[in-house]
Amino acid sequence: MKVINCPLNGPRNAQEFICGGEVKLPPAPDTTGRGPDVRQWADYIFLEENLQGVVCEWWCHVASGYWFIAERDTASDTFLRSYTCQEWFGQAAPGDSAQ
């Protein structure tokens, strides 16, 4: 059985978690007054890196409703490391590519 390390609850059975998708940074808010750039938002919402290799994703421990970020390898099906949001976003400077 797969075990995922939750920063709040420790190692738990994978069935207690759901995957929330790739960590991506949203487009900058519209400051032009012309409204949001639909292409940019469609990219952000629909397009995926879908990497074969190490990815960073949102995960949620459902029982406690706790969201965090996990690094895992999509080629070997191994969970590598889990971060609290504070840890993860503390690492990346605002505006950095989140991939």
Partner: protein, 413 residues
Amino acid sequence: MPLGLLKYGFRNKYRGQRYFPAEAPLRPSYDVVIIGGGGHGLACAYYLARDWGITNVAVLEKGWLASGNTARNTTIIRSNYLTPEGALFYEESLELYRSLANELGVNLMYSERGHLTLAHTDAAIRTSRWRAEVNKHLGIDSELIGPDEIARLCPQLDLSDEVRYPILGALYHPPGAIARHDAVAWGYARGAMELGVEIHQQTEVTGIEVRNGRLAGLETNRGTVAAGKVLQAVAGMSSVVARMAGFKLPIRSIPLQACVSEPLKPFLDPIIVSGSLHAYISQSARGELVMGGSTDPYPLYSTRSTLDFTEGLMAHMLELFPFLGKASVMRQWAGIADMTPDFSPVMGLTPVKNYYVDAGWGTWGFKATPVSGKRMAETIATGEVPELLKPFELERFYRLQQVGERGAASVGH
């Protein structure tokens, strides 16, 4: 050995015949190169040659012929989708399938069984009625039926109300069918080769050269190949190959697992699907029960099998057919499904000129093999996307016009 037999063996009239023509050496340039030798790539190659006279075509397959999802699917063929765009598209595929065995000269074991999507909740009954009405309006044979009619079509189902999710009704689609997946791929491959198409196995595309937004050539593990036009039809590897050409897709690669039981006497005629229970089952001509459910819980490029899957599936399967508790599971496997957010495919043009995409087939693409092959061939030959494919272009995500088929495709495939 009886002499008579030897005589036959040496007579020219009875010479051994190859199923496929001999493979040709890889040439440095083709009019069209198709990346991916699964059902979709092979069908496209066949129709390029048959319908458009384009025969200077190579299909490049990194492994063995049709060893991807084409070899791993549970072969459900149907057209009772929810959106008019989807239903019309899959209906054209069914029409092509019906005459395909004759056309390709291969026994596809195409078998119309009838397809039942069970409804266990009021919400599911509503969706079934909605689908039935959309289908009927488009001339597709599809109706909502009650438990009596279900019992007539499939007396083996546990229709009692002493289960967790009693069966309230079903969407019945008489043309629902199963077929032999390998035969479909081999038939298209042989048909294409007889018309002059080359198929190169063990030939992996490792890079795509793009100059000024146009396709310039391909890198493979066997050297560079130039091509006028290229189609990628690589299912689970869609994002990986598209990235070589410099663009992203609205796709997550997620394993889909399936399994078969030991062979049993034929007893199950229709294909039974339960969306609420995440389970479906049919009986193959060999007697094996072919069973599956929804995709794995997270994206992955590994085709490992899990016990979680079989346990979860069987818990529900036994609610439908309690006597299956005595049958044993014989094989289990996975394929990497290219899942889109709206459960519809991505077909047509890409941001790269002369580079085309056929992807997003997720858990539902086997049934679309003929129509996507035919219509992608038309797209490549004419450079224009046919009306039938327009709703499925990559651009739909920028127009915010998804073709929502989740309710009709997530478990039913």
